[in-house]
Subunit: 357 residues, 2 copies
DNA sequence: GGACTTTAGCAACGCTGTTGCGTTAGTTGT
DNA sequence: ACAACTAACGCAACAGCGTTGCTAAAGTCC
């Protein structure tokens, strides 16, 4: 029965509204979603039943019966996210509102194996759940933001850049078995952009998260959902050529954005290179938001933000009309881990796609 | 009542199947769509009623009752598409299957005005409908593939490149009034990629149509639908920088793909530049299909195709896994006009998006 | 205190896809 | 020839979604 899709879709719409505003009420939800007030009543009743929202008093207008007001219950659902880098595992426990409620970082051995990662992950998840906080019943699952290339559809790591033991590793399956929880594996940059999307709501429809952290990548959020591409390998933004016959890149080509960036003398010059790349992205994709992230970038966050803003202002034709918001990642260095958690929440409580994403 | 969305969605799914295969039958449709056979029966009954499909005999299996077979009725619906260039107006009359059934090209005066275009368009549409063929009752509407930048959501041309009289012209509204038909206005490149998508079916999910025709642009088809971007201005692919401090471009920057391309000595060198740009697109977006189009490109079609294929094969890391199909536009120089027509069909008979695209 | 305004909720309804089961149109076996 | 079997088909009852119509409730305003 596909009526369930309609129900889930409308419930997710209301949850999304509750996430992006302090409170919601029947009338405004009806107006925004196009549902009738009566239908909204039914949706709200179901969400109350599930504990996802709670009454929050009444709003007294000039006249008429006061409207019942509701708000999201952030504590009602949780998820854990993991950010795997070449040196460390970073965990974040996130609530339904997208707030990071706890975190942990542990070192990973050089050239760690899948089994070593799973052990650290398992220990970390157990520790987070042991801390006074969320009953594990309300845990939606675990998300992993991983180094690519990987096949997101099957949760298999193809061969992670510069990690010797990671070839065709079915990470999602292994982690599900080890943790006994639903696991969502995705590229780190995609997890990152999901963090911003989940926290910002419906206005965040076309965006890129630029990540500079031992490599340059981009997480893409297009038309209101993550863009992963035909082989779920989108986002290799650092390996786009910006200087024909430029300096050689680790990927074998010449003049890649990453190679030119890494050779820039100082942060300002490096940031200017990213600026050119961002303008290229804007020209191609017409994005509304650029989010800057990654440990190497955030070390000089303001330098990068100013350089990208300057590039956008001076290099994009019709900059007046093609408004773009450039920001640093709201959650800083924890963005990827938090985003991995929010991918789990998004899969369950986000607005679904009839095709299943 | 939002049940109508479910109905339309499933009908569109079945129509899409009927487009991409010679025949359809209840069992296979049920398997692919996930609907129950009984539900498919109801959908098929509705489509028969509308005349969109027709019985096409039976399929005798080894045992059991033979299955009823159906096929699309291409003549059941039509649309007209228009491709506006700086010098000419090209029209295409297209049937539901995406086949071009008639066409016409007329010259446009230099620096033509909106009114001059509407006159030519109106005359051309009337002429196409007068020819023995489709009853105008079955005409879904008129699509216009226009020079950007434009606001697709409102159908307003902001200021078309190098056309003096085109600033903030509400083309969709003007054309609707003049023609008395539904009008869909979009960027030429987006119309072009829709032509390929409509004709190729479900396997064509992440793709770009590269158009070289007094400028370089890209129409993007991402995740199974057109990508237009935050201000519906995506696709300015020619104005991405591939050579820092390269030759100056008409847009004011230096080293744009378009500038470098136009300065290449011969078609092969020019094609190689496009090859670099395509690889950049693939790295960023991970596309499965690249379609080459545009008058200037198709003049040396095979040169471009070979150059792009070579670039893809030699410059994309993991080319074995990241399979990409490179083709010339199946409808050649008529791709944009035909695609504009198919955008109208796609809006009415394509698989809808709950958010309304 | 009555008129008015706005919100809320019950009940009947329409329409979607689903389920259960009998029917139909073939082939296979004796 | 005829029963047994198979696979597709379709009628009828049903479940669940949002909608519609109407009544009740909880305020303000005069």
């Amino acid at each position: 029965m596909h009526l369930a899709f309609l129900r889930d879709y409308h419930e997710a719409q209301v949850i999304a509204l509750a996430r992006s505003r302090p409170t919601i009420e029947r009338g405004t939800v009806a107006e925004i979603t196009g549902l009738t007030p009566q239908a909204v009543s039914k949706v709200i009743a179901r969400l109350l039943e599930e504990g996802l929202i709670a009454p929050a008093g009444v709003r007294r207008a000039a006249m008429g019966k006061p409207a019942a007001v509701y708000q999201l219950v952030p504590d009602s659902r949780w998820a854990i996210g993991a950010h795997v880098t070449r040196r460390a595992l970073r965990l974040a426990l996130t609530d339904l509102a997208g707030t990071v409620r706890a975190g942990a970082t542990t070192a990973l051995p050089p050239d760690f194996t899948p089994d070593q990662l799973l052990s650290e992950l398992s220990a970390g998840v157990t520790a987070l759940l042991a801390s006074p906080g969320p009953p594990s019943r309300r845990l939606a699952g675990v998300g992993i933001g991983m180094i690519g290339p990987l096949d997101q559809a099957t949760g298999t790591v193809r061969d992670a850049h510069r990690l010797r033991h990671w070839h065709d590793i079915p990470l999602a399956a292994l982690a599900t078995e080890r943790l006994g929880l639903p696991v969502h594996v995705d590229k780190d940059v995609t997890a990152g952009v999901t963090a911003e999307a989940w926290r910002r709501g419906a206005g965040f429809r076309d965006a890129a998260l630029i990540m500079v952290e031992s490599g340059v990548g981009a997480g893409l959020w297009l038309g209101g959902s993550a863009h992963r591409g035909a082989h779920t390998n989108a986002g290799e933004f650092g390996h786009t050529v910006v200087q024909l016959d430029g300096p050689p890149c680790v990927c074998g080509r010449r003049g890649c954005l990453e190679a030119v960036h890494d050779r820039a003398g100082d942060p300002a010059a490096a940031a200017a290179v990213i600026g050119v790349g961002v303008v290229n992205l804007l020209q191609t994709l017409d994005l509304g938001h650029i989010v800057l992230a990654g440990a190497d970038l955030l070390e000089h966050g303001d330098v990068y933000r100013r350089a990208v803003e300057h590039a956008v202002r001076t290099q994009v034709p019709r900059a007046d009309w093609l408004s773009v918001e450039v920001t640093l990642a709201g959650l800083g260095a924890g963005t990827i881990a938090a985003g991995a958690a929010m991918q789990v929440l998004n899969a369950r409580y986000g607005v679904p796609d009839p095709a299943g994403r």
